[in-house]
């Protein structure tokens, strides 16, 4: 059985988990087994409707004390749940929480793990998973050699797929260990789209000259419903907050559309964004290396091109 970990925040199932369900359902079909989910805590979503992503059964540990993520507690509960349900493959989203617990669960289950998988495993001869390595500069095909297998999938690599059907929900009773952390404050940036969950990212570099010029980036992001990002020197100079820094030493993103404005396209920047489906580069230097990694480009001054582009998109959406 394929067991998919369904991650929630603020009692809502994350988009990356819907993608994990789609992936797990396709994998279960490939293996000829059932696709089942495990949810910790209580959520406001309609659980039966998870069937439309291909989930056949949901094991629900509906204890409200699990509404707050705690890596140690979640590791133990998921390990016990995987044993109780006889899971042979576990699927996680390679998101912030997935990164924290999937490897720990794997060691507790004596399972091999591949994190950051890009596609369904090849199960024709073994169990071989393809993942990005060298920060997006290469792929590795890795075989998991243990009876139980754990995979975490890169966000935005598989997509959310719709099916017919409903999920049967079953309560699962697991002893919940004592909390190992105490959350004392949560700070969310209002109205901002989380970078790693965004479909579209508009990113600015040193070419924008200073923080006071970010309005044109924000305006474009707004008409596209996009998240904003930046290159490393921009966050190093405190023009933008650290969490917007993308690249090899920042956040790695893989949106459907990445628009790079006034960014030269250094190898370390590309490493964090080159899995984006479509890349648009706006740069006044026709020799900027980023054009070699782009699908579409405009050679021009950002201060002229961006307002015009924002207006054109607005017009096309009207």
């Amino acid at each position: 059985m394929v067991l998919i970990y369904i991650d929630q925040a603020d009692q809502q199932i994350k988009k990356s988990s819907l993608e994990a369900i789609s992936y797990g359902a396709a994998l279960a079909k490939q293996l000829g087994v059932t696709a089942e989910g495990i949810l910790l805590g209580t959520v406001t979503d309609d659980l039966a409707s998870l069937g439309k992503y291909g989930l056949q059964k949901l094991h629900h540990v509906g204890d409200a004390s699990l509404n707050h993520f705690d890596a140690k507690v979640f590791t133990q509960v998921l390990t016990d749940a995987a044993k109780a349900t006889n899971a042979s493959v576990l699927v996680f989203a390679h998101n912030l929480n997935g990164k924290a617990i999937a490897p720990a669960v794997a060691v507790k289950l004596h399972a091999g793990i591949v994190t950051g998988a890009n596609s369904l495993p090849d199960t024709s001869n073994g169990f071989t998973v393809t993942k990005t390595v060298f920060s997006g500069k290469a792929f590795a095909e890795i075989n998991i050699d243990t009876p139980i297998k754990v995979i975490s999938i890169n966000q935005n690599c598989f997509g959310v797929h719709m099916h017919e059907g409903a999920t049967s929900v079953e309560a699962l009773s697991i002893a919940i260990p004592a909390a190992s952390i105490k959350v004392t404050a949560t700070h969310k940036v209002d109205g901002e789209i989380p970078l790693t969950e965004a479909n579209i990212v508009v990113s600015g570099g040193r070419g924008l000259k200073g923080p006071e010029n970010w309005g044109i980036i924000e305006d474009l992001a707004k008409v596209l419903g996009a998240a904003t990002a930046c290159s490393r020197p921009v966050s190093d100079s405190d023009w933008r907050p650290h969490h917007e820094h993308v690249g090899q030493t920042g956040v790695q993103v893989a949106p459907n559309l990445y628009i790079a404005v006034g960014i030269s396209g250094a190898i370390q920047h590309l490493a964090g964004v080159n899995r984006s489906k479509t890349i648009v580069v706006i740069n006044k230097d026709p020799e900027a290396p980023f054009f070699k990694a782009a699908d579409y480009g405009i050679v021009g001054d950002a201060f002229e091109v961006l307002p015009a582009l924002t207006a054109a998109i607005q017009k096309s959406k009207a």
Partner: protein, 247 residues
């Protein structure tokens, strides 16, 4: 207070990535090695800052690798840290690596174990979490701020769309990322001192690998950029909508 900082050796960020032996081995020819930036800039420097605030802190560094990892661990010692341990085995299997560190960690009874958020070569983000599983310790991942307060650490970690602050009782494991500390350059005094700091080599424990790398591939090259004139943004919008189906 005893700190253990995990140090990994990775190719420099500008290295040309290539493979040999029928795409089954990373081609190390001409590759410059560096300390994994997350281990260096964030985990190690934060540990050094803690020692500067409280001289009773001891910092041990650990790396899993063969003799060719020594320049890297010496460089780490030049930045700071009291002594280093090299576990004499090279492996691409995270479980093998984590098991070696866990064995050292058990023996050393550390209060705090720091890792970088991931390595820039295999990008697995596994070691911190696996250590937590192997040692049954609390784990705070993707931390960008940490202060010690007696026997607890107050840590900020990234969450989707923001961050949360939590308190964790030591011993604990924390994986570090940007924000945690500022990059430092080793100075001459540090480099001299590092030469005589203890570097202990220990033989690995025997554990079975759980994964094996079959092959590597390079991504297909982009087919070429389509340039649109700067005064024709409508055409870009049309291409993005109709051809790329981007929105």
């Amino acid at each position: 207070m005893k700190l253990l900082v995990c140090i990994s050796k990775t190719p420099d960020t500008t290295s040309k990535i290539a493979f040999t032996e029928g795409n089954t081995k990373f081609d190390e020819n001409g590759v410059q090695w560096i300390i994994n930036p997350y281990d260096e800039w964030y985990a190690l420097v934060r540990a050094i800052e803690m020692k500067e605030q409280d001289p009773s802190v001891t910092i041990h560094l650990v790396t899993v690798g063969e003799a060719d990892a020594e320049p890297i661990i010496r460089k780490a010692l030049a930045l700071g840290g009291d002594e280093a341990i090299r576990i004499n085995i090279q492996s691409n299997d995270s479980f093998v690596v984590a098991s070696q560190i866990a064995a050292i960690a058990k023996e050393g009874a550390y209060d705090l174990i720091l890792t970088g958020k991931e390595t820039i070569d295999y990008n697995s983000a596994c070691i911190g979490s696996m250590l937590a599983g192997l040692l049954d310790m609390p784990f705070v991942s993707l931390a960008n701020h940490m202060v010690l307060n007696g026997n607890t650490a107050s840590v900020k970690r990234e969450i989707e769309g923001g961050e949360e602050t939590c308190e964790v009782a030591l011993p604990a494991i924390v994986s570090c990322q940007k924000g945690m500390a500022e990059q430092r350059i080793p100075n001459m005094r540090g480099i001299m001192a590092a030469r005589t700091k203890p570097l202990k080599v220990v033989e690995p424990i025997v554990v079975q690998a759980t994964t094996s790398i079959k092959t590597y591939d390079l991504p297909p090259a982009k087919s070429g950029v389509k340039l649109v004139a700067a005064d024709n943004v409508d055409e870009l919008v049309r291409l993005l909508k109709e051809e790329a189906k981007a929105f």
